[in-house]
């Protein structure tokens, strides 16, 4: 619902209004500038103020990574330097975008979701990541609230003999997307563990809470699906080279990412099916327990009600009740009662209720 609320506050503003709709943050944006080519790779952390981005074509490939998109003025400066469309800037700020790929004249704009699974609260945290893929530069914008999965990419960049050093911005972009998609598997793994726990709980002691957890998890999967599904088309379009700046040598790698996304989708579907089956099992567990309770009631009641009746009969005060005066009357009454109880017991045994 958060999405709808925040979105509605923006309504009425002209398009291209740079308003940040996300969690409030106050610390300065962390800006990381990496330049590399076959020979060298430099990495600097600069403050937003120092940032001087006059493109220097001689230096090879430029990767600017921002941790935080809440500084609208910084974004505006970057937008001016790289010639970004006002709607692109607006979309980077609006962290409620769905994943998409848009082709502009001088760059390609990609929006994705990075995901974390909060084990404590058992819910997905998602963070928007935007990429601006140009011929000689790549800009990446992270919300910067939950974490970073790009460390492995930085390490690879430092390795002189890594393939990434000799490829273009498209390969860098692929590597970053791959890092994000790889992280999805970790999230799925956590969810899978959670599902296993619920499965155990279902058999041991399912209660109303369990059902709500299942539905909660189902909802998380729907959200996850919404983050992953559009990715399929984005990476598919890149792989078919329908967008500029993608070289043939990156194609097999993009096809690989595409396969991973499909695998994530299929695991998601499997999880959904499992959760649906678990609702069935829960329902059956509940009605099973009901049956248990009813059985106990029925056994106790049907055994004792006739016995109580017999006791009641001999508690009547008629003057002329021959049994009352028999020597073994009392024993006789017990005998009848024992017979009835035994009969009932045998009957229930036969019915497999006991």
């Amino acid at each position: 619902m958060a999405s709808a609320r925040k979105r509605s506050e923006k309504s009425g503003l002209p398009p291209g209004s740079l308003v940040y709709v996300g969690e409030e943050r106050h610390e300065p944006v962390r800006v990381e500038v990496i330049t590399y080519d076959l020979r060298a790779c430099t990495q600097r952390i600069v403050s937003p103020e120092e940032l001087d981005l006059t493109p220097r074509e001689e230096e090879g490939i430029l990767w600017v990574n921002l941790d935080g998109v809440h500084d609208a003025s910084l974004l505006e400066r970057i937008g001016a330097v790289f010639g970004l469309h006002e709607l692109t800037l607006e979309d980077i700020l609006n962290t409620e975008q769905r994943p998409k790929l848009e082709i502009y004249d001088r760059y390609v704009f990609i929006v994705m979701k990075m995901l974390w699974y909060d084990g404590g609260e058992r819910r997905l945290v998602h963070e928007q990541v935007s990429f601006i893929l140009g011929e000689k530069f790549l800009l990446s914008f992270q919300e910067g609230v939950a974490g970073d999965v790009f460390e492995s990419v930085r390490q690879r960049l430092r390795n002189e003999r890594a393939r990434i050093r000799s490829e273009g911005t498209d390969f860098l972009c692929y590597t970053l997307i791959d890092a994000i998609v790889d992280h999805y598997f970790a999230v799925l793994e956590r969810i899978g563990e959670h599902i296993s726990e619920i499965e155990d709980e279902l058999i041991r002691e399912a209660d109303h809470q369990t059902l709500q957890t299942i539905h909660q998890l189902k909802r998380e999967l729907v959200l996850l699906r919404k983050s992953v599904w559009p990715l399929r088309e984005i990476v598919g379009a890149m792989e078919r080279r329908e967008i500029p700046f993608v070289t043939p040598s990156s194609q097999p790698f993009l096809r690989d990412v595409y396969d991973h996304i499909i695998q994530v989708m299929e695991t998601l579907e499997t999880y959904r099916d499992m959760l649906s089956g678990m609702v069935d099992i829960y329902m059956s567990t509940v009605s099973n327990r009901m049956n248990e309770i009813m059985k106990v009631l029925t056994i106790i009641a049907t055994v004792f009600i006739p016995l109580t009746f017999i006791a009641g009969v001999y508690g009547m005060n008629f003057e002329h009740m021959p049994e009352l005066h028999w020597r073994w009357g009392y024993a006789f009454a017990w005998g009848i009662m024992a017979t009835v109880a035994l009969g009932m017991f045998i009957y229930f045994r036969k019915k497999k209720w006991m």
Copy 2:
């Protein structure tokens, strides 16, 4: 059902018959005439009678906005001035149309739905909005029963430096559609709050009424979906420039609206899934409560039925019942009864029924 009823009254009339099918209204139609170009912007409210619409090409762009479509003769005059097809006029009057886009020789005809959420009665109110998009003019027809979301557009028009002042009718049309779609988010937000309320209610004290509210809400979502779904194709067709009068510079903006519509659709789907899950939870709550009731009955009955039986036994009137004459007979009976009750109590504890 209103739709079917009203529609059927029209059956048998020749096509193009101008009959208003909507809520009855008697006040005169409010006509607003706005003309603007880069230099100036004039806005006038005129009475239907004064309306003189001879197009004056030198004046820039003309926007005529009508609040109310119940004045068939006024519509006929407008139709004559702008050369509208008889079926176009009929569709503007018939407020039960589904959203659509029709291309005529000299104009494009667009039908949309504006939506409000009536918090009191918890139901959607929808109002039809029709646009006639010409090269130099844009006509908008609102039913005028619930409200107006175009105020922000008027304000932007008054701003001399706003982009809208330098663009054509296509950008004006985009701005109006965007205002309507932006309002959908407000409606979704209200529905989202309502769903949260029901969710709380479900856990606290679900009754039969709750289920009906859920189904009611589901139905509203279906109606909402019917209003939004065809929009996707309309705006998609505009963005792909399959219709006349759309300039390339408006394309990124239309793509933006398109994204918003998709976002509305996805939120709708999420809400539907949540409501479906809530039916499950309701059903389980009801059967849970049943279990609760059964448990209490069973515990009470199974504890006291054997006790009553024992009391019954010692209420029998046999002459020879040794226990009756024992000194501690009475205490002995209480002892047996206490033992049985305690045994039952332990059994229920073990079964986790208490």
Copy 3:
């Protein structure tokens, strides 16, 4: 099932065998011959024997309307005059066709369903209508069992200034199809009322019968859908002018009919969703009532079973029961019983069962 039965009786016959499969009828077929052009319009009812159909091109447009298709020999004569394919004739007679459009060299063959809603038996009655659309003639074949919706068309034809008088056979065909589709709205309105009635019944006093009515209605909607769905393609093909004899000036009108058909389909879907929701509500109503019953039983039983036990205790015949001899023993027993009853009462209040 009627369809399958009748159809199977025809099996084994060579194709093109003219056998009438429908309700048996004996009265002569009513043949109506209408010719019109801009200047004049003549309408005659002729007996099948008198029918002379040598086409007279000079007379403008010829519309022959038959009320009844059970006279195979008459059909054969008509087929010979207008050059109809043997399978066309067979399909006109076989009133179990699904709606379809077939293009032959010299004419277009259209099959549709006219619908009535029988309020008494609460079921749909459908009647087949076939059209033969030629360049200068239109033949229409109604089963003639339930009614006629073409009266409004006849009236319009008599009006000298009506557009229909100046258009071709395609416009006449459109007008007839429009009349049939308009009638669908009346049928939907009736079904909608019926659904509202059931909705009220559901809340007041749902019983097993209600569920069967809901399923019955669902089935009717499936039948209705089968009659309407193929129409979409038929009218769509006409509107796109994929078939001969359709002039551009009829296109907007056909698009209008197309919209109406979509509207019928959407209303149908909404009704289906409503009925599905009603099954849920019925199920919940039934289990709710069960809960009610269980509550009453539980309250009565759990209150009185302990009381009965106490009474039983003091009905025991032990010699040494001190309470029996107390002055206020009886009052003391009532005191205990009142306390227990009150405790139970408070417990149930707290549980909100009372």
Copy 4:
């Protein structure tokens, strides 16, 4: 399951191995040779040994019909004469094929299913029919276990003036397919009757068995659907003349068969919907009956438990119980009990439980 078992026994064999997988049969294959043209039609039953199939082009059209495909050597001889591919022969023998159409250089290979409904065991029997459609010959292979629906075709062939005598092999093939599809209607009719019976049973006395019959029938419909669905594409491909040997004059007839197949499919869907609805009704019937039972228990228990309590009170042995000594004490007790019973009775009446 039979299909999977038999199929697995073939696994490991090279493709084109001629192994008969079907019911074991020992009688010789019945071979029928029919030749016809406009002037003459001869029909002979020959033993497999006599079969001499050197094609004689001068004789018109040759139709060879085999009742039984268990004689692999006979098939091999036929395959050699007509130049059939080894996989074609394998598919004819393997009676677990799904319907399909395969185009080879010199012939078209069509596989279909003939169906019977075994009323006793209430299950579908299906038999594979394969056609080899050449320019001047048509071979048909039936399993020959259940029956034959081609008799009507033979009769038509004997009729000198029948259209079939003047048309090519495509028309003969159409006639045979039409005979098979016509027979589907008879099968549907039988299933429809069966469904009606179950519907009655549902209302009268539904038990666990009924549910299983419904599911059994659903399964039969799934099987039926699997036999009919691919036919749609087969006949559609023939009608669009995407395969050789089909002449334009057969097109309207194939379109006719196509319509019949659609009709069969729609009836199937209707039946499935009906059966699904019947599961709902069954479930509701069962819970309804439960309600009935619970009501009776509740009424009896809640009426008598308080009465028993009152009787218990006056069965207590306190010394000082004034009522016991009243003159009308006994009548007074009956009075209270009658009042309580009456009160309960009125309460239940009000609740509509009685």
Copy 5:
């Protein structure tokens, strides 16, 4: 879940990293080298170290089959000899791939799943098989954990007159795929038997365990479907000759495999439908049993509660109770009780509860 876990351990590694993700294995990989042409066929088992794979074009077709893919260095050597892309090698090692077909410049890469059904644990075991199809060579990589289904192919290769000896690598590849698909039928047969067993169990003595088995089986079918579904496209692409190295003479054979895959899919769907129906039947069985229990309780309680009341009445201690002093009072009481019991008995008989 295994898949997600293992996959996540690889995250962060550069693409093309050769890491084996599968069951741990230590024995050396079994390498089998087969060369054949029309005249000769040689088969050798070599140790990984001896493997010398310099391609010798003069020798005809080379088939290298590896049982085990856990030896990354061996794979690297093979990759170097045959010019395999680094991602291909990675995919061969990563045994969690979904079936796919990838076209590279010099070879076609195919991934499939081989399946076994573990009867003891009642679960599917799947093993990845990868094929590298070159013009003159075919490499096959099996995980080698569960078994081998290629023995029949080896036998056919030894047969001098077998078709396979005269065809190319495409036919060999088809034969191997066919062997795998054929084995699916055996797996389906086992699952089918298992389903039959559960069906019997459902009727005899369904318990909570049965439901879990059904859901377990449903899950296995989902996994099976995921292994088979992509195959359809793979073999379809081969059959349409969209990939290199496929000759026209293999086309009918590939079409045959395609048909088998469709048949597997359809059997899967049938099994899923059956299992869904079985959940319904289980649910109904459980509620049926509940009804049984309730009936017994109701009969016993409603018969004895009134009787106990009567006994209670005559156990009251009023001074003036005329019946108590009647000569046949006791018999009279028994008479009333017998009458009530009989009445109840008749009532239950009429209601068909007994």
